[in-house]
Each structure stands twice: as structure tokens, then as C-alpha cells.
């Protein structure tokens, strides 16, 4: 995430843009090249938000680039629209709307399939531009005659019709684009996008509607693409059909990778390198057609060795030079204080003003899950009372994880219903369920591993504060009301305040487990499912975690799956035993310990059949 020294980056950008015309020409950059770089850079800001921050690699940005460009060019050349700036804005709106619908289709899939659909969309748009709509788009000729912009200030009119005045125009819009981009990236939405890239499963599980956020990122990228497309037409006085080709998308991807994805400035750096080298190879070195080969090799080398592009490489260089010994204690588990802080600060969410429900907190009726011929869970009837601490035990393969997955609605049951506080949640999605107050911590850590513990908790708390989806793109993340309190309280609960700013990769295992629980806590659940919270812990850690769980249990309902019998018998008020997909027994710890069926199940397993 970008450092929180607000306005330094904006200021530096402004300085850079102002200084460029004085410095760059001496390095061999012509004004048109610089303008082109700005267009690609602006195009790339949106793409970087989509790819660098959200992790969605789209090869179809050319479709939106072209749409914005052609709508603007059409208005200006065929319809005598007078205001260039107005046409650019209308083109951007068109691209944004188109991007919304394209995103609806493309985002139904993820990863490779998503990339494939974007390729297909790019090709279809190119074809449509070329053929059926060639009346409007000029087909393979494009739309020539795009005028240069002018600004009527009442007393005088400023015409941007020379190379340098166009530079001023473009630089201004690039600056606006960067400022908005930085705002977005620093907003809660930006943080969530990064979380989606890091661990989409968990981002959803802590209560965010990740599909809506992805669509937002896609639409943002479309808007930037559309505006940049319009600028291209103005720059060249000609809107070319090549704007729609797959190569345009490919070039954008390569430039972003070269410059460094996830930095917002990566595309600008990448475009500079690309355009400069292509000019250099062709006109200075007279390499002719070989320029593309050299550029390709440069690209592959960069991808192999500079994993985060040039900017990433520079950052690493900077860190290496500055020394990296400012971090805190080494990665040992600092012994946590024995007294556990008061937990009143992280109670169930104040948002939810439900009438208190008098029945069971969680109830499953006839819950069954089949995987083909394998029956993982068989007709389970399960019920947990309000405020109860229930343990679930069972030998391996009993179906505990599957059961849990169904309870949190991560997996759909084959048949049966689930009720949370009397409400049927069987068909509700996991993010919504979390918002209702039912959440889970995972057996295998599902953390946002690129972030710090504080940032992890922030992600979860953001969902708690803002619901499944909120379009607060321009809000500063530190201005979300109540966020800090929530985060600090949660960190304190899991005793991670001292280590809150250490990257997750440097945490000890026990600390990571505590963070895992903390993530679930930050969503202010009223019912918490814990999947083997003690897994992999040392005896000392176990003791503390048991204490932690006891604390958390106050004022909440807890359901814990565990293998550690001592711990579970100490913790739980009632225990349910699962065996071969069905409930074998249920009762107090003492009853369960005496139950012969349970003993057989653990020792033999044949008798129950």
C-alpha cells in the first residue's frame, strides 16, 4: 500500500510534470512522444488499479479505450460537437457504461477464464468497429479530423493547438487522473481491492461483496481507458482503428509490467521506456524491424528478474541502500501478557439492532452433503443455544470441515436448511452471512499475507463498519468513523498490538493463528465458528489460546472444532461428536467421555457400521 504521507506524491508528480518539458527534450524526447507517454500513462492508471491492485489481468482494455475514443471522435468529427473537453467526458461516460456491462459478463469467471473472456471481448469489439459499425467508425480508416481542444474563459480563449500547449492539456488531465487514482487507492475501496488480490476467499468471508468490488475496479479501469482513448484522438487528430486491437491491450500490459504493477506510476514509466526504446532502436540505431525483438527480450528479462518492474526494482534498491534494520523484534513469539484485556470493547456490533431472538443461535436441519457418490455429511440435525460454547469432535474424515463450510455458507448443502437466529440462511452468500453476525476462523491460516496484522484487521473491520459494499472511493481510509477503535480493540484482544506493523510473513506461527482469530473477531460476530484454533500450537500457546477463547466466548456463541481433547473438554459446555458424516453423540464433556460408542469410534470404528 502506498505510504500515508499524503500529498507528497501528488506534489512530486506536479513538479515532475512541470519540469519534464525542460529536462526531457535534452534526452531526446519530442513533445509528441511525451504526450503519447501521458496518454498511455493515463490509460494505465485505471489498468493498474484493475491489475496491479485487484489482481485481475485483463487483455481487453482496448475495447474500452477504443469505445471512449471513437465516441468522442465521432461527436467531434461527424456531429460538429463544439467542445472537445465535453466530447472527451461523454466518451468517458460511454466507455464507463460499456465497461459496466462488459464487466458483468467477464467477471463471472476468475483467473485464466477471465483473461480469456477479455481477449474475446477485445476481438469482438475490433470486429464490430471494423465491420458492422464502419459507417460510424470509418472502418479501417478510423475517424480523421479530430480537432484540438480550446478553453473559453469568457475574457479569452485558450487554444491548445501546438505540441507544447497540448502537453499542458495532457499533463493537466494526467495530474487529475493521478490525484483521483491515489484517492481511490487510499480509500477503503482501495484497501479492499488489495485484499481481494491477496486472498479473495477471506475477503469474502469477512463480509465484503467481492464481486461488486471487482466490478467497481473494472469500471474504474474502463473510465480511464475511455478518457485516454479520447485523448489519443486529439493528439493525433485522428482516431485509429488500431485502438481496438489486441496489440493495444498487450502493449498496455507489457508497459505496466515493465514499469511495475501496483504502483499507479508503473504504466507511465513503462510507456516511457517502451516509446523511447522503439524510437531509439528505429531511428538512431536503424535496427528496423528488429526493434520489437529487442523490446521483447528486454521485457522477458525484466519480468524474470525485476519482479515488480522498474519502480519495484528502484524501491528495493532504495531499501537496500538505506539498510533495513529499523524493524522491531525478531520473529520469535514474544510472550504475551498473561492478563487478558477486558473484552467489553469488542462486543457484538452495535449496528445490528435486532430484537433479541429467544431460540437457538444456530440450527441445522437435515443437513446433507454429497460429492458424487461420497456422502460427507448425512442428515445432520444440530442446534446451538445462545451464548453456548459448543465443541465438535470426531475422527479424521468425519466430515467436520464440510459441516463447517456449509454452516458459513461457503458451500451449498445437497439438502437441508440452516437457521441463524431463526432466519433461514441456507441460500445466503458467505459475505452476507458474515454481516449478519456468523463468521469463521480457518484451520489453515487464511490471512492477507502481503499486509501487516493491523492492515489485516482493518480489512475485516471495514466490512463491519461499511457493510458488504460501499462505493466510498474518495474517502480517506483513516476517516471511516469508528474504524480505529475497532481495529485497536481487536488487536488488543488477540495480543498483537506490539507486533501490529510487522509484515505477516515475519510473524511466528502462534502469532499468525491469533491473527487468524482476530480477523474473525473484527467482524463483530455474534456467533463464531472456530476450525481447529489450536492446530500446530505449542503447549504454552495452547494455554493462552484457550484463555483467549474463554474470553471471546463471553457474550457470544462459539462452536469449536478441535482434536485437542484436553482443551475441548476444558472449554466446552456441550460436545457434539461427528462420525462418518453423521452425529454420533451429543452431551456434556463428562457424558461424552463415558460414551462407549464414542470410544469405539476413536479406537476401532468398525462397531458403528
Amino acid at each position: 500500500m502506498l505510504r500515508r504521507r499524503f500529498f507528497i506524491i501528488e506534489a512530486l508528480t506536479a513538479v515532475g510534470l512541470i519540469a519534464a518539458p525542460f529536462v526531457l527534450p535534452h534526452l531526446g524526447f519530442s513533445p509528441t512522444t511525451m504526450n503519447r507517454i501521458l496518454v498511455w500513462g493515463l490509460f494505465g492508471i485505471g489498468f493498474d488499479i484493475l491489475f496491479g491492485f485487484t489482481g485481475l489481468l485483463s487483455f481487453g482494455q482496448s475495447a474500452l479505450f477504443g469505445t471512449g475514443g471513437f465516441v468522442a471522435a465521432y461527436l467531434l468529427t461527424r456531429m460538429d460537437f463544439s467542445s472537445v473537453i465535453g466530447a472527451l467526458i461523454i466518451g468517458t461516460i460511454a466507455a464507463t457504461v460499456v465497461g459496466f456491462f462488459v464487466g458483468l459478463i467477464a467477471l463471472r469467471r476468475t483467473g485464466i477464464y477471465f483473461a480469456m473472456i477479455t481477449v474475446a471481448i477485445a476481438e469482438v469489439f475490433y470486429f464490430v468497429e471494423f465491420n458492422p459499425l464502419s459507417e460510424y467508425t470509418g472502418g479501417e480508416n478510423g475517424l480523421p479530423g479530430v480537432p484540438t481542444p480550446s478553453l473559453n474563459l469568457g475574457i479569452t480563449t485558450i487554444e491548445f493547438n501546438s505540441d507544447w500547449s497540448l502537453y499542458v492539456f495532457m499533463a493537466f488531465w494526467y495530474f487529475v487522473g493521478i490525484v483521483i487514482g491515489l484517492r481511490i487507492v487510499r480509500s477503503p475501496v482501495g484497501a479492499i481491492l488489495s485484499a481481494i488480490r491477496d486472498n479473495p476467499l477471506r475477503a469474502s468471508a469477512v463480509g465484503h461483496n467481492i464481486h461488486a468490488y471487482k466490478l467497481t475496479a473494472f469500471v474504474i479501469a474502463a473510465a480511464y481507458a475511455g478518457f485516454a482513448g479520447g485523448l489519443l484522438g486529439v493528439l493525433q487528430a485522428f482516431m485509429p482503428p488500431d485502438a481496438f486491437t489486441f496489440e493495444t491491450s498487450g502493449q498496455l500490459v507489457m508497459q505496466t509490467a515493465i514499469g511495475g504493477a501496483g504502483t499507479l506510476f508503473g504504466p507511465l514509466v513503462g510507456a516511457t521506456v517502451w516509446l523511447y526504446l522503439s524510437d531509439f532502436f528505429q531511428t538512431t540505431l536503424h535496427l528496423g524491424a528488429t526493434w520489437k525483438l529487442v523490446l521483447g527480450v528486454v521485457f522477458v528479462v525484466l519480468v524474470c528478474f525485476l519482479r515488480r518492474g522498474i519502480i519495484g526494482g528502484l524501491k528495493d534498491l532504495g531499501l537496500w541502500l538505506a539498510g533495513r534494520r529499523w524493524r522491531g523484534s525478531p520473529a520469535e513469539d514474544a510472550p504475551a501478557p498473561v492478563e487478558v484485556p477486558r473484552l467489553a470493547s469488542v462486543g457484538p456490533s452495535r449496528r445490528r439492532n435486532e430484537k433479541p431472538f429467544l431460540g437457538p443461535a444456530l440450527e441445522a436441519r437435515g443437513l446433507t452433503k454429497r460429492f458424487g457418490g461420497l456422502i460427507a455429511n448425512r442428515d445432520i440435525n444440530f442446534s446451538v443455544g445462545q451464548g453456548e460454547l459448543r465443541g465438535i469432535i470426531g475422527p479424521n474424515g468425519a466430515g467436520k470441515s464440510t459441516f463447517f463450510k456449509m454452516l458459513t455458507c461457503e458451500m451449498r448443502p445437497t439438502s437441508g436448511r440452516i437457521f441463524f437466529h431463526g432466519r433461514d440462511i441456507t441460500d445466503v452468500k458467505v459475505a452476507r452471512v458474515c454481516q449478519l453476525g456468523l463468521t469463521k476462523s480457518y484451520q489453515v491460516n487464511q490471512l492477507f499475507s502481503r499486509l501487516t496484522p493491523r492492515q489485516n484487521i482493518v480489512i475485516a473491520a471495514l466490512a463491519e463498519r461499511r457493510g458488504t459494499f460501499s462505493l466510498d472511493l474518495l474517502r480517506r481510509i483513516d476517516r471511516v468513523p469508528g474504524l480505529d477503535t475497532q481495529v485497536e480493540a481487536t488487536l488488543a484482544m488477540v495480543s498483537l498490538t506490539a507486533r501490529a506493523d510487522v509484515p505477516v510473513v515475519e510473524l511466528a506461527y502462534g502469532e499468525k493463528r491469533r491473527l487468524e482469530i482476530g480477523l474473525a473477531l473484527a467482524t463483530s460476530p455474534s456467533l463464531l465458528l472456530l476450525d481447529e484454533p489450536l492446530a500446530g500450537m505449542s503447549p504454552h500457546e495452547r494455554k493462552e489460546t484457550v484463555l483467549l477463547l474463554k474470553n471471546i466466548a463471553r457474550g457470544r456463541t462459539l462452536v469449536v472444532v478441535e482434536h485437542d481433547m484436553d482443551a475441548i473438554f476444558e472449554l466446552a459446555e456441550r460436545i457434539t461428536v461427528l462420525h462418518e458424516g453423521a452425529i454420533l453423540a451429543e452431551g456434556t464433556p463428562a457424558e461424552i467421555q463415558r460414551n462407549s460408542l464414542v470410544q469405539e469410534a476413536y479406537l476401532g470404528g468398525m462397531a458403528a457400521a
Binding site: 518539458p21 525542460f22 480508416n141 480523421p144 500547449s165 528505429q282 531511428t283
Partner: protein, 452 residues
Amino acid sequence: MAHCQSPFARTLSRRAMLRQAALVTAGFSTLSSRFTSHAWAGDHPAIGTYPAGSSGDTVNIGAAVPRTGSYAVQGEDELKGWQLAVEHINSGDALIRAIAPKVTKGLLGKKVNLLAADSGAKPNQAVQEIQTFINQHKIVLMTGSTSSAVAVALNKFAQREKVLYVTGISGSNDTTGKDCVRYGFRQNFYGETAANAIGPLLVKQFGKNRKAAFMTPDYTYGHTVTKSVNDYLGKNAGWEMVTNQVSPLGTQDFSQYLTNIANSGAEFLINVNWGRDAVLSIQQAKQFGILPKMTLVVPYQIPFLAKETGAGLTAGVLAATDFWWTLQDKYPLAKMFVEAFDKKYGYKPEWGANNAYMSFAIWARMVSEAGSFYPPDIIKQYEKGETFPSTVGDVHFRKEDHQLVRPVVIVRGKKPSDMKNKEDYWEVLEVVPGEALMQKPDAFGCNLGDYT
């Protein structure tokens, strides 16, 4: 402050910075678009790259030529033609002086320098390259196209930038039709003239009311040539277009189109495809048995077609072209050109190279006759319509649409057994004078723009 000197700071003299600042603020000038600086040189106001581009002892020409993509082979050939022309202008070669008598060594005392960049036959890339040339090198002439889409884009660009443009290869009617511009000139033949030249021969040889299948590449050149040919044959001889298979530029596998054609009942295959598309479609047509069952006609010939497909496929094929090297027996200037080219490059030039050479030679003539690099003067010289010699005889420009009035050459492919040397692919049947082949000047909606 000296210890902070970066390498760049040393080059940034105070004067340079002030000049730069002036440029940037001039950009904010409240004057309207026409004159952004008050620098007057000579007796003409500044326009385009004048007088900056011709104030030194060298003038630059910028060429955007496809060196990758479907037309790469033809592009390289064109490039050689341009390079030879530039060499001849600088050395005052006899051939150049035959076309442009006032050229001595160099043009108006200045050396000519050619800059070339890869356009990939894409309009956007071509415009980008030319834009860089204009900015960095202040070119006084731009050229390049092998695809008419590029020609149209560069036409418009030339008009906006006020830099003269001579087309490379461009076969579309639109280039000097509805997309014509004051600053653009075309020397080669095009769809309408090709159709009107080859049409009568086809009718004479094969009669009336025949059935033809067309293969058309899907862009302006393809559509206009197909239309011109079909119009001629349909109106004058009752030929029927039984099918028109339109394929995207860059198609590799023509089997779908050829299957449709095979089942169409056509007797003639009129292939308007160009470059590699033509080579592939013809090779595959043979594989499908369509050739030689149907007779192949190539209304707009492609350089290197015979070489790439193999002479066996082009035997007996009728084509209309701009130039063929055996014309050296008929025109002395052609002989000089073919010899010079063969000597320098080791093979006989195709028509792309000839077109390139001629377009530069003509420009050199116009500049030297006008006595200045001021674009409107040069344009008016073209528009005078004086007759001058060329590698295909005497020619002149038509002032209404800036198209050169010149003959179209009809050729027929030779059988391999008839070839006297390994480049003797085509036999010239007829050289049809151009005037009668052209449409009326305003027939295609040409509206030349302003001079300034």
C-alpha cells in the same frame, strides 16, 4: 551549488531554459491557430515544417513503411526505390535529371536524407512514426503506405500538419477520391483505372455474359477495386458476380472462402487480395482445384506475386500493373532505372520500387521548378499540370484531384517454359494510356482542402 551539478544541469543553459519556457507559454498563446510564432524567413510565412526543415544544408524525408506484417515484402521493395531516388538526387544522376532537369547535386543545394520507420501497415503506427519525424527532424516530405488505409490516414495528417505527402502504393479510389487532400499526391494507378484498363481486354478475350467469383480483402482498397471491376464488367459486358468472398486482412486459411467459390459455378476468379493474402489465396485455390479450372484475374497486381506463388501458378494470369521491368525495351528512362536498381540491389525492381522512385523524382522536379520548399508553391507547381517524362512515358498531374495521369500496364503471366531468365515472369500485353481510364475529377467526391 556547483556540487549538485547533474550531467543534465550542465546542458541546461539558462538560455535554453528560457527558450523552453517561452515555447511552453507560447503554447498558451491567445492567438488563434494559424501563426504560433512570428518567425518569418525568406518571403513566406512559416507553415508546417517550413522554413525550419529546409534552413540547414540537409532536408529530411520521412517514410512510414511496413517492415512487419502482411505487406512487409512489398514494403522493403518500396524502401529500396526511395533510397535509390535519394541517392540519385544527391549525386545528380542522369536519370533524375531527365525527369527533373533543374536538379544538380542535391535539391536546391541541399542534401536529401531519408528516414524510415516500421508502420506494420497500420494507420496508427504510421501516423505515430510520421509525427515523430515531423517533430524531431522537421521533414519536408512524408511518404509511405502500402495499405490504402495508411494512405488515407496520412493524407489527413499531411493536411493538418501542412507537410507534403506523396503516397507509396495505394490502390483505393478514395485516396484521390473522397479522401483527397491539397497536400497529398498519388502517382500510381488505382482501382478505377485498373478496372477500365483490364476490362476491355477481358471482354475481348472472353466475351460477354460470363460468371465471375470475386475475392476481396475487407478494407477500402478491396471494396473500391472490386466495385470498379464489377461495375465495368457488369455494365459493359453483362458479366455476373456470382459470389464475393470478403476476407479480413491477414487471413491465412482461405478454405472456407474457396469452398464457397468452388460451389458457386463461376468461370473466373477475380482476386483483389493483396500481399501475402494474395499469395496464400492463390496457392490454396490451386490446391482446391479451382485453378486452373477457373481463369485467374488479378486486377491490381502485387509485387513479387509470381516469385512467391511460383511461376506455375501465374502462367496465363491476366493482371493490371503500374510497371514491369521489361518495359525497359520500350522506354529509355525505364531502362536506366532498371539497370541502376539491378546494379545496386541485385534484382530487377517490382512496381512498388518504381512507384517509390518516381514519386520522389517527381517531387524533386516540382521543388526544383518551383525554386522553393514553401509547400503552397510546390503544390501549385504540381497543379500546373505540365507534362514531363517518366519511366512509362510522358505524364502529367490532374489538378482537381492530385492524381497523376499515367498509363496502366496489362501483363500476362508467362509459362515457366517460356521464361528467358529467372525474373521473366510476365509478358507486357498492352500499355493503356491513362486519360481515358480515369473517372471525371469530381465523380468520387474529391474536395481538396486549403493551401495553408
